[in-house]
Amino acid sequence: MDNTESIKKDLERAIIDGKMHETPGITQEALDLGLAPRELMDEVLTPAMEVVGEKFEEREYYVPEVLVSARAMQACLDIIRPMLFEENEQAEATIAVGTVKGDIHEIGKGMVCMVLEGAGFNVIDLGVDVAPEKFVEVVQQNVDIIAMSSLMTTTRDYMGDTILALSEANLRQKVKVMVGGAAVTPGFAQEIGADAYGVDCNEALRIVKEMIC
């Protein structure tokens, strides 16, 4: 019993400290000890990323520290995710995240992905420079929320275009749309008919949680 507790602690520490080379080993060890993937997800990964999120909010952690923690978590997730699906578990929601067309700012978008993934959601990272058609395409599959980022006033209009394209494809009712990024204001979000605006990754998580309630 002690063993499993201490290994959970080790894994949590490794994620918080961003030891991305160590997490795969510890994860494997934990699985070998008989811990269930779901248990690791709920009792280690999610709380660990919450701690990272808090540290970021309190400015103890900055973007590089968060990214390293995210990579550490990712390394662990890569191992346990296939097993989660084997157990036929469903994520609470699927969120497709991308930076809009003409825009290659990836940091903010990446942080949103990682926070949502850490909270146990199924995240589809569409990357940067994502055209409206691409968003429509993923919505046709099983996506509950799309999140768009734009850091340039010259690209933010693609958010409105995407929402319009969704309406034209009769998909607007099917998904919630959230937007963010330095070029976006709450007023703009309302104007283009987005469901929510988030100022940073922690707010994005709160919004997603509200949306699926």
Partner: protein, 367 residues
């Protein structure tokens, strides 16, 4: 020459001629700066700004000015003379106190071998990052500013500007850390600050050489003020900033015989002291930063520029709104001689011209 006898209220800035003149002595601010800087420190420049009688309108308006000349941003960023004509139009129309080239954060990256994408009316952006490992770096040469990529375009523009105007001519470059982020990818660069600082340092040394070669060419062509935009450096902690950005910017400041302004995009509230420590004459802050707090923390000899929201204020408000917001900030900062009103970041190309007019007039008339 700054102490020219002028009628009250003292407005040194307006007294600076705006037309072409053959006599260097008629360029009080522009011509003086290069050799004054060698002899005096940033304190004098700051007090010069403080004594001007009003706040200077030293902002980059090239991108929105493309509306005045009916050109696209792309045309401007590809041809030095077109860009010069656009900026000339902006300076003459709005009676600016300085002439700045249009900022383009992809020039150096492109000259270093990054692929870029150039939309007609939007800022270009980097789409490939060529450096993945140390070997990639070793094969890289420092680009020649007179030959490679679009560097010659910007040099040509500065050459025209410094001949045409008696105002301080401003040129700019991207900061070393931001350039490294483009060369190796933003996430990779951020992670390298923790995982592989040695490799990142190697890249930064290269970036520093690229910037210095480019800026020295600007100096030669007549640029009197240099703006370094280490755009993405606000993601770093103060410690990492000192180590991976500030240290390199300091070296640029030391090696140039020009006043340097340092701009950082986003929330750089945690970096005010570090930015000032680089020796920059001016720090330029984006809209998320609290200006009052920044001015309290910055030494009196550093000009703190900022930070009306380019989107919420300049793009989305009307002329009256912009004037009110501008006046509000001018009033709040009235007791800081080293405050310089500026938009927080580059203005969008489609900023309504009325808003710019409202801003410029408000700043000029505020006493």
């Amino acid at each position: 020459m700054i102490r020219e006898r002028l009628p009250a209220p003292l407005d040194v800035l307006t007294a600076v001629g705006r037309s072409r003149t053959l006599r260097p002595m008629h360029r009080p601010i522009g011509r003086i700066l290069p050799w004054v800087v060698g002899k005096v420190n940033r304190k004098h420049v700051a007090s010069m700004a403080g004594l001007a009688g009003r706040r200077a309108i030293a902002i980059s308006l090239g991108a929105p000015a493309t509306q005045l000349t009916g050109t696209t941003l792309k045309e401007n960023l590809q041809d030095g003379y077109t860009m010069f004509r656009t900026i000339e139009k902006a300076v003459v129309t709005w009676k600016l106190d300085a002439d700045f080239i249009i900022s383009d954060v992809t020039v150096e990256a492109e000259a270093c071998g990054c692929e870029i994408e150039m939309p007609e009316d939007s800022q270009p952006y980097v789409i490939s990052s060529p450096i993945r490992q140390a070997a990639d770096l070793r094969s890289k040469k420092v680009p020649d500013p007179y030959r490679h990529g679009r560097m010659p375009v910007f040099l040509e523009c500065v050459r025209h500007l410094s001949r045409r105007f008696t105002l301080p001519t401003g040129a700019g470059c991207i900061g070393p850390y931001a350039l490294a982020s483009q060369l190796m990818g933003t996430e990779e660069a951020a992670i390298a600050t923790i995982e592989d600082p040695g490799f990142l340092d190697e890249i930064l040394e290269y970036c520093l050489e690229v910037s210095l070669a480019y800026l020295k060419a600007f100096e030669k062509e007549g640029a009197e003020v240099i703006v370094i935009a280490d755009a993405i450096a606000s993601v770093l902690s103060p410690k990492a900033f000192r180590r991976f950005s500030g240290r390199y910017i300091k070296r640029i400041v030391e090696q140039l015989n020009r006043p340097v302004a340092l701009h950082i995009c986003g929330d750089a509230s945690h970096l005010i002291e570090e930015m000032c420590d680089t020796g920059a004459y001016s720090i330029s802050l984006d809209s998320p930063v609290d200006m009052d707090d920044a001015l309290k923390r910055a030494p009196a000899d550093v000009i703190v520029a900022g930070n009306l929201d380019p989107v919420e204020v300049f793009l989305e408000m009307d002329g009256d709104g912009v004037a009110a917001k501008t006046r509000e900030q001018l009033f709040q900062m009235r007791n800081y001689p080293n405050y310089l009103p500026c938009p927080g970041c580059e203005l969008p190309p489609l900023t309504p011209l009325d808003n710019i007019k409202a801003y410029v007039e408000t700043v000029r008339s505020f006493r």
